[in-house]
């Protein structure tokens, strides 16, 4: 049962990810990425990380990707040119390198020790619940959290400066 669910969501996520590359229209690519994100969120639920799964949809699918879709629609971008004009050689290099990368990854994964997932724990303190994420975030990880807020402030200022029309 669990394995079947994993396979379904894994296939959906990989198929959607491949579709990002196959589509020439950036809007279809963006929607494929939304498909991958939702499949991944389902996998997070299976890993009992409910909070991260919900945040994945709210932040990624609901905000970041809507922003992408908005920009793509706003620019009404032309479709991509059918083939790569300049660096044709890159394409022939990319495929073997991709093969190499994935072979490497699987070689490493083969060495992973088979660990059992801890038995399911229904208490509010269990790994992945809002309470445990919040407690950790505001005690042990307070500094990274605060630094992230500075980063976001910088991003807001940066985006405003960049997107503003020039004074000239």
């Amino acid at each position: 049962m669990e394995k079947a669910l994993f396979i379904i969501f894994a296939v959906v996520s990989v198929a959607a990810a491949l579709n990002i590359l196959l589509q020439r229209n950036p809007l279809y690519s963006a929607l494929s990425l939304v498909g991958t994100l939702i499949a991944l969120s389902a996998l997070y639920v299976m890993l009992r990380a409910q909070f991260i799964a919900a945040i994945q949809i709210v932040v990624y699918a609901g905000a970041i990707m809507v922003l992408f879709v908005f920009v793509i629609m706003l620019l009404n971008a032309p479709k991509e040119a059918p083939y790569i004009e300049k660096h044709k050689a890159l394409r022939f290099l990319a495929i073997p390198f991709a093969g190499l990368l994935i072979a490497e990854a699987f070689y490493v994964i083969r060495l992973v020790k088979p660990i059992q997932m801890p038995a399911s724990d229904d208490s509010a303190q269990a790994v992945g619940t809002t309470l445990s994420v919040g407690t950790k975030l505001f005690t042990d990880y307070l500094l990274p959290f605060e630094v992230t807020s500075v980063l976001i402030l910088m991003a807001i200022v940066g985006a405003m400066v960049l997107a503003r029309r020039g004074e000239d």
């Binding site: 919900a54 699918a61 609901g62 905000a63 922003l67 619940t129």
Partner: protein, 337 residues
């Protein structure tokens, strides 16, 4: 296990049936109230008080020709209405309709399910439903539709922030994201200890306005803005696809009413629910009905925002107010405890 599965299936079927009926009749309700406010009668010919009007409208729309524009992007054009409707229907599985009642010798909680991140789940579905509108606008290959889709996505990103921040006050009060827990935390004062009276009037105001914007209701109905964009994102739609957009919109409306009730107006809480659990269902329905009425009332009272006003209001008024609400709630909570 099979018992639980059966219980879920029955609950989902009942809620779906009740919801779709409510959606059909909220259209009629809207038209009747519009008639009343504009000093005319509204639809009153089909059946007593026009009660059969939804059925007649449905039949008419089913028999209309289903047009797909030749230059449209077909796949997206066809799935866009579903993308609006399905998320708004899915919200209702976490909304608690009442307390526990005993039926056939079995304790039945009046919600389909509840989990640790219930409120985030609601926010997530609310934010995903914008894809339906944005993609419908883009796929129709029509400049008015595209404008509608663009406006919908910009509006959604801007008001989602205020919506998300306005519920933080409630979370500080109840200490949980689970909607059932949030309702239970409002149970004091003989069932009248509602968040909106206790500490969150400002939070409720921000939430209410942002929820209006999320449901694309007047004065925030920029994505369809009949007077500027013909019919906005669904200009090209006809027949059943148009019906699905209408259903999605009213479903969002009822969802907004249900979530506002749950978070701020005590959900199913009210005087006497402890002794008569069945009363909770009536309280919940009545509160949701009042909300739907207010939404409709606002629609025929306020004019539409201009686009720049909409953006300025969202970012410069609602967002600071929501943050102010968080600061006040957190400070009070800290001082009291």
């Amino acid at each position: 296990m099979t018992d639980l599965l059966l219980e879920w299936t029955i609950k989902i079927a009942v809620i779906l049936g009740a919801l779709l009926t409510a959606v059909a009749y909220s259209v009629l309700l809207e038209r009747r109230i519009m008639g009343f406010i504009q000093l005319r009668r509204g639809p009153n010919r089909v059946g007593p008080f026009g009660l059969l009007q939804p059925a007649a409208d449905g039949l008419k729309l089913i028999f209309k020709e289903d047009i797909i524009p030749s230059q449209a992007s077909k796949l997206l054009y066809v799935i866009a209405p579903t993308l609006l409707l399905i998320p708004s229907l899915m919200i209702f599985i976490v909304i608690p309709f009442g307390s526990e009642i005993v039926l056939f010798g079995r304790k039945i909680a009046l919600q389909v399910t509840h989990f640790d991140v219930g409120l985030l789940y609601v926010l997530a579905l609310g934010s995903v439903s914008v894809y339906g509108i944005a993609l419908a606008g883009w796929a129709s290959n029509n400049k008015y539709s595209l404008m509608g889709g663009l406006r919908a996505s910009a509006q959604m990103i801007s008001y989602e922030l205020a919506l998300g921040l306005s519920v933080v006050g409630v979370l500080i009060q109840s200490g949980s994201l689970d909607l059932v827990e949030i309702v239970r935390s409002q149970g004091g004062w003989n069932g009248m200890h509602w968040n909106v009276f206790v500490s969150q009037p400002l939070g409720f105001l921000v939430f209410f306005i942002a929820a209006l914007a999320e449901a694309n209701r007047t004065p925030f109905d920029l994505p369809e803005a009949d007077s500027e964009l013909v019919a906005g994102y669904h200009t090209e739609y006809s027949s059943m696809k148009f019906v699905m957009f209408q259903m999605g919109e009213y479903c969002n409306l009822i969802a907004a009413a249900g979530v506002s009730t749950t978070l701020f107006w005590g959900g199913w809480m009210g005087p006497g629910v402890e002794t008569y659990p069945a009363l909770s269902l009536a309280y919940f329905t009545a509160k949701v009905f009042v909300f739907v009425f207010v939404f409709i009332w606002i629609r025929f009272t306020l004019p539409r925002f201009r686009y720049d006003q909409l953006m300025r209001f969202g970012w410069r008024v609602l967002l600071p107010l929501a943050i102010l609400n968080i600061i006040i709630t957190a400070t009070v909570k800290l001082l009291v405890s």
